[in-house]
């Protein structure tokens, strides 16, 4: 089966300084991949490469088997960025934000169809934000905005969801229910997930695969092997230990 995401020999230089070197990575259908690593290790850069927001200095990126330059089936992919804080002075309702995901395939001069509004509503229900459908996005908390962005990413019915530090600035309770939502999506709806996070313990519990990134790919495999002391030492340096939050 064709991998949904495939990176081969990707290298990114920022003004001649390498940020990522020789990254080779595949995401198969049904995976829940956690990308972990220290700050400045290139996690967000790697996501931007996957999404075509950055062009690598060398190497090859494929989405759904298609070279990314030619890829145009963006509705098959959902992206939840790291903290988009919406400007509170610019009014936009939650529904307006969610339906922007449908804009690329909207016909000219066509308003949203009943079916599209229903899909937006379904996505909001799934993300637990349906009560805020007509509310102003800029007036919501960071955690609520994050859920709206998930609903936005889900509205096209994507096969893969790519999330960048989605729980930054979210309280622990909201964080727990957020991971429950990801679990449901992955196990029950078969959505492939790629999640960047620095919260090792939480990621370890949730994901099925781990990629450890510190400019190079330090490890790529199952979570149990990654989170050994030896694996962590390779990633963060010899003194790193996993301080378990697992209860």
């Amino acid at each position: 089966m064709t991998p949904l995401v495939e990176l081969r020999g990707v290298r990114v230089n920022y003004e001649a300084v390498p940020v990522l070197e020789d990254i080779t990575l595949t995401v198969e259908r049904g995976d829940f991949l956690g990308i972990i690593g220290p700050n400045g290790g290139g996690k967000t850069t790697l996501l931007k490469i996957m999404l075509g927001l950055l062009v690598p200095s060398s190497g090859e990126v494929r989405l759904f088997g298609e070279p990314i330059e030619r890829f145009d089936a963006w509705h098959r992919l959902g992206y939840v960025p790291q903290k988009v804080v919406f400007d509170p002075t610019v009014p936009a309702t939650v529904e307006e934000v969610v339906t922007t995901a449908l804009a690329a395939r909207a016909g000219l001069f066509r308003r949203l169809s009943r079916a599209e509004r229903q899909r937006a509503m379904d996505a909001l229900i799934l993300a637990g934000m349906d009560r805020h459908r007509a509310g102003r996005i800029g007036h919501l908390s960071v955690g609520q905005q994050q859920r709206v962005l998930i609903a936005r990413a889900l509205v096209t019915g994507p096969e893969i969801l790519i999330l960048d530090e989605p729980t930054g600035g979210v309280d622990p309770e909201a964080q727990a229910s957020f991971y429950a939502l990801l679990h449901t999506l992955n196990r029950e709806q078969g959505v492939t997930l790629v999640l960047v996070s620095h919260e090792l313990a939480v990621v370890a519990r949730a994901v099925t695969k781990v990629a450890c990134l510190n400019r190079r790919m330090v490890f790529h495999g199952g979570p149990a092997e990654a989170l050994t002391d030896a694996g962590l030492a390779a990633l963060y340096g010899s003194s790193a230990r996993l301080v378990s939050h697992l209860h």
Partner: protein, 429 residues
């Protein structure tokens, strides 16, 4: 019907003003959240260069502005997209560059004239019927493109990365938005003037943002307040004789102020809005009384005898047929309550019998006039452009015996200039 609606120039001004009021905020709501408000100002200065070029070459100012501004829009977009110049630096380069080119071209074309003043600050008089058609066409293009691309434009405005990863071609859309801004600038400059175009793009958008809960609501509220500002501003410009652009922008600032109150105290906001509207709508009522004397002025105009005068322009002698206003009643009447056709086809010579000091008003006059003042020996020593207004007064520095009133542009087209020309002889019929 209010008096001001009877005049062709006011009808054209309102029509163009309405187009301006609908498309400026429609662009503004997409520019303001992305911190691109300055684009409109830069493009307006580039438009000025286009106008200056058109005046030098002798083509329509709108066409000149259109060509140069669209080219400027593409230039700004390319510079920004390549990251050669940081965001506002590219805009500053085009803003000052456009202005510099305009100033140089204007100095080549020998100085400022009335047309240029109108373009800088807005005028309700300079809109010709051809302009109306061009502006309607441009406005339609802008409205159709924005209407068609609305969901995509909204997506890009809220977040570029999200728009890009949902399959929107963001850079093409950005280029399109910049070109639309150029077209909008060209439309708006006739009424509000080059220097105030960006205010019309920015202020109603901010007003809409302050009033609405949704983006669509903000767009509609912005259009509504812009329309109100244009109507109020144009009516004020007509009755008070002030620059149209300034009046419109001040009106929209007042509306923005009221809208900002809305968030804190809707009741205060509603009351202030009602008060502002009541004051502004009282203009037409106050001045409507003047119309009662119209039949009297028309009689006096019809009674003016025709004469032929000769004017030496310095290079050659022209023969001009005039209507002679030689008594108090006829001098008081002038072109009051005349039709635009009367003004196009006749010239009035005022003879006061001896040199006196006085001023002319433009109440009840439906079109702009040029007036030339001559001493008792016939020497033409001063000329003025007089705009329709119920309040403004026009007069030369120094006493005069004769005054010649004609449609705006008459003297220039005949090569008659103050200081060089002389009224030679007044002949019988």
């Amino acid at each position: 019907m209010p008096e001001f609606l009877q005049y062709g120039f006011m009808q054209r001004a309102l029509l163009v003003g309405a187009v301006t009021a609908l498309i400026c905020p429609a662009i503004g709501v997409f520019l303001v959240p992305r911190r691109l408000s300055l684009i409109a100002d830069s493009l307006a200065h580039v438009a000025l260069a286009g106008i200056a070029l058109a005046l030098v070459v002798g083509i329509s100012p709108i066409l000149g502005a259109l060509g140069v501004t669209v080219a400027g829009a593409v230039g700004i977009d390319r510079l920004r997209a390549r990251g050669r110049l940081q965001g506002d630096a590219a805009l500053a380069v085009f803003l000052s560059g456009g202005f510099a080119v305009a100033v140089v071209l204007i100095s080549l074309a020998r100085g400022f004239n009335a047309d240029l003043f109108a373009l800088l600050f807005g005028s309700i008089l300079t809109v010709s019927p051809l302009d109306v058609w061009l502006i309607l066409a441009l406005g339609l293009v802008v409205a159709l493109v924005i209407g068609g691309l609305y969901p995509r434009l909204l997506a890009v405005t809220l977040n570029e990365d999200l728009a890009r990863t949902s399959g929107i071609r963001v850079s093409a859309l950005n280029l399109g938005l910049t070109v639309l801004t150029a077209l909008t600038t060209v439309v708006a400059m006739r009424i509000v003037g080059v220097l105030l175009v960006s205010a019309m793009i920015v202020i109603p958008a901010l007003t809409g943002f302050a009033l609405a809960r949704s983006f669509r609501g903000a767009l509609l509220a912005a259009m509504g307040t812009a329309l109100a500002a244009v109507v109020v501003g144009l009516v004020a410009a007509y009755y008070l004789g002030v620059a149209a652009g300034g009046a419109i922008v001040l009106s929209s600032l007042v509306l923005f102020g009221v809208a900002s109150l809305h968030g804190r105290s809707p009741r205060v906001a509603t009351r202030s809005l009602a008060a502002v509207l009541a004051i502004l709508t009282s203009f037409p009522v106050v001045t409507a009384a003047a119309d009662a004397d119209c039949p009297r002025w028309r009689d006096a105009f019809q009674g003016m005898p025709s004469r032929t005068v000769r004017i030496d322009s310095g290079d050659r002698t022209l023969t001009v047929t005039v209507k002679l206003a030689d008594n108090d009643e006829r001098r008081a009447a002038g072109y009051q309550c005349a039709t635009a056709e009367d003004i196009r086809s006749t010239v009035i010579l005022f003879d006061f019998g001896r040199e006196i000091l006085t001023q002319f008003h433009m109440q009840n006059v439906p079109a702009p006039l040029d007036i030339a003042f001559a001493k008792a020996d016939g020497r033409i020593f001063a000329m003025l452009r007089m705009d329709p207004s119920p309040t403004r007064l026009y007069g030369p520095l120094g006493p005069f015996r004769f005054a010649i009133e004609a449609r705006a542009g008459f003297f220039e087209s005949r090569g008659i200039r103050a200081g060089a020309a002389r009224l030679i002889a007044l002949e019988g019929r």
